[in-house]
Subunit: 315 residues, 2 copies
């Protein structure tokens, strides 16, 4: 192993993101020691079976001892409690980071517990799938995705640079901004889209005039894409909405206002208003593909699912 | 060629669906003659270059002459005018069908023009991508997807059976229901999901606090899936909303009611309500995958997009 980026990294929490970081560290030789800690004994055992680290502990304080970098990958609602639990064991000068999808409330929850001698650099890799747990991780998760850093002003430049280097080594692109701006950007590109996906799937499940069986059967045209998003981890997403309340409610207000106006255009048969919007949105999709943020293949290039046996043609 | 299903099929309109039908007919030998008609001279020429038929005509009446099956694949708002244009040229006993995403208004628009001696069997293949035009078609588009038939009561059983057979030959599964029920089912599984995707992409484009550049850059987490749906053909979708107004407004009312309640749960930090909904919606995703309506692969199995040159790490 050539000189690794960090001597020892502690990963607290080992779900989809934590295990993907662990696989990157292992495969790319980014640290000599990787200590893993997670609350559940079964998950910790599974992490060991998957060889995700070099040491394993239920107590996060034990894992962070001597670590040069500590990364929390826990639901954002748990960040404060973990910070408190590890505070006294942190090595002076260590970089403390996280991967939470909300930054303002994570900073507010963790900061009071952290000693002055550590460098607190909250981070958010904008990457994920609808799956969770230590088995869900994979090497390419961060490839060409953005990781946003929101360092607190007392963090050293070197700490920020080192953490950025780690994320680039995982394949990510790195951007720095304030926690507040991060939370607003994420509300529109992620949180509110998830909320309306959860909502439409819930609405469909509750209809009396169309059976749930029919919804599932004929889901191919639009709806099934929402169900993928609405299959994301419930605990993680509950915490996101509770912790990014202001930005989510602000964007949601805009969304509802726009939807009301669209509803009115339909009611009054204003075809031009609909056509204009649909043309504008098509151009945005083009920009996203051109920016390398999504595949240009139709239907995301997904292959037709296997033929299922319970519902053959003609039934 | 063994005995084909139909001697002559006329395809009026040759976009994504029309060209996919044409490719199926050609590759699977489902008709001896395929007459293609479309309004635009350039598109007709392109269809000929792609060898999608055996004859080509700008005048739809010329195309339908002697056809045993006529399929309209035009925006639903154009169905009535096309029916009027072909009415006098239709062969007695011919099956007349379409592929429109709305059925009630298509029946209302076409039926008054059609002579009593034809069999009118409206149809809707629930398949598509966000792309359009004669180059977008492909053989597997209907594979394992549902096609819904909504025959008018005067259509013969044989006509319905023959059309069902054609769709099965294209790989589809076939279901029959009333036009009214079709329109309600589609409003929830397709039309309203499209509308809210268009809406959120529009909302994002109009924010002042987050730049459009940022929206595009950080679109990876949820939002980009909506942009794919919101990139669908503007003319087609304008017509769908104008022609399925009642069902769309009804479902939209439900959606907004549910969203208001979700908004309230966030405002009052009702984590249990959020968690319960997110758990229910996750189960629905599982059912859709189990029903063979979507791939189980994370992120639809899409591959990471290529690295783009204009925005490298560190910029």
């Amino acid at each position: 192993m050539s000189e690794p980026l960090f001597e020892k990294i502690a990963l607290i929490g080992i779900g989809l993101i934590g295990s993907s970081i662990a696989i990157n560290i292992r495969e790319r030789g980014l640290a000599r020691h990787v200590a893993i800690s997670t609350r559940s004994e079964a998950t910790l055992k599974r992490a060991e079976e998957l060889r995700l680290g070099t040491s394993y502990a239920l107590d996060p304080a034990e894992a962070v001892r001597d670590a040069d970098l500590v990364i929390l990958s826990v639901p954002v609602g748990a960040s404060g409690a973990v910070a408190k639990a590890i505070a006294l064991a942190l090595k002076p000068g260590a970089v403390v980071s996280d991967v939470g999808s909300v930054k303002g409330s994570v900073v507010a929850a963790m900061r009071p517990h952290l000693p002055d001698h550590v460098n607190f650099v909250p981070a958010h890799p904008i990457a994920g799938t609808e799956q969770s747990g230590p088995d869900a991780g994979f090497l390419e998760l961060f490839e060409n995705r953005w990781t946003i850093l929101t360092p607190v002003e007392s963090a050293s430049e070197k700490a920020v640079a080192d953490l950025a280097e780690l994320w680039r080594a995982c394949g990510a692109r790195v951007e720095t901004m304030t926690a507040e701006h991060h939370d607003l950007v994420l509300a529109i590109v992620s949180h509110v889209p998830h909320l309306i996906a959860y909502n439409i799937v819930g609405t469909a499940a509750d209809l009396e005039t169309v059976t749930q069986q029919e919804v599932i059967k004929f889901s191919a045209s639009g709806f099934r894409d929402f169900t993928r998003i609405a299959a994301s981890d419930p605990t993680m997403w509950r915490d996101i909405f509770l912790n990014n309340k202001d930005a989510v409610l602000e964007i949601l207000g805009r969304f509802s206002e726009d939807l009301a106006s669209l509803q009115r255009a339909i009611r009054w048969s204003d075809g031009d208003a609909l056509f204009d919007l649909f043309t504008r949105t098509r151009a945005i999709r083009r920009s996203i593909v051109e920016a390398g943020q999504d595949t240009a293949e139709p239907n995301f290039g997904r292959r037709p699912p296997r033929k299922d046996p319970w519902n053959e043609p003609g039934e």
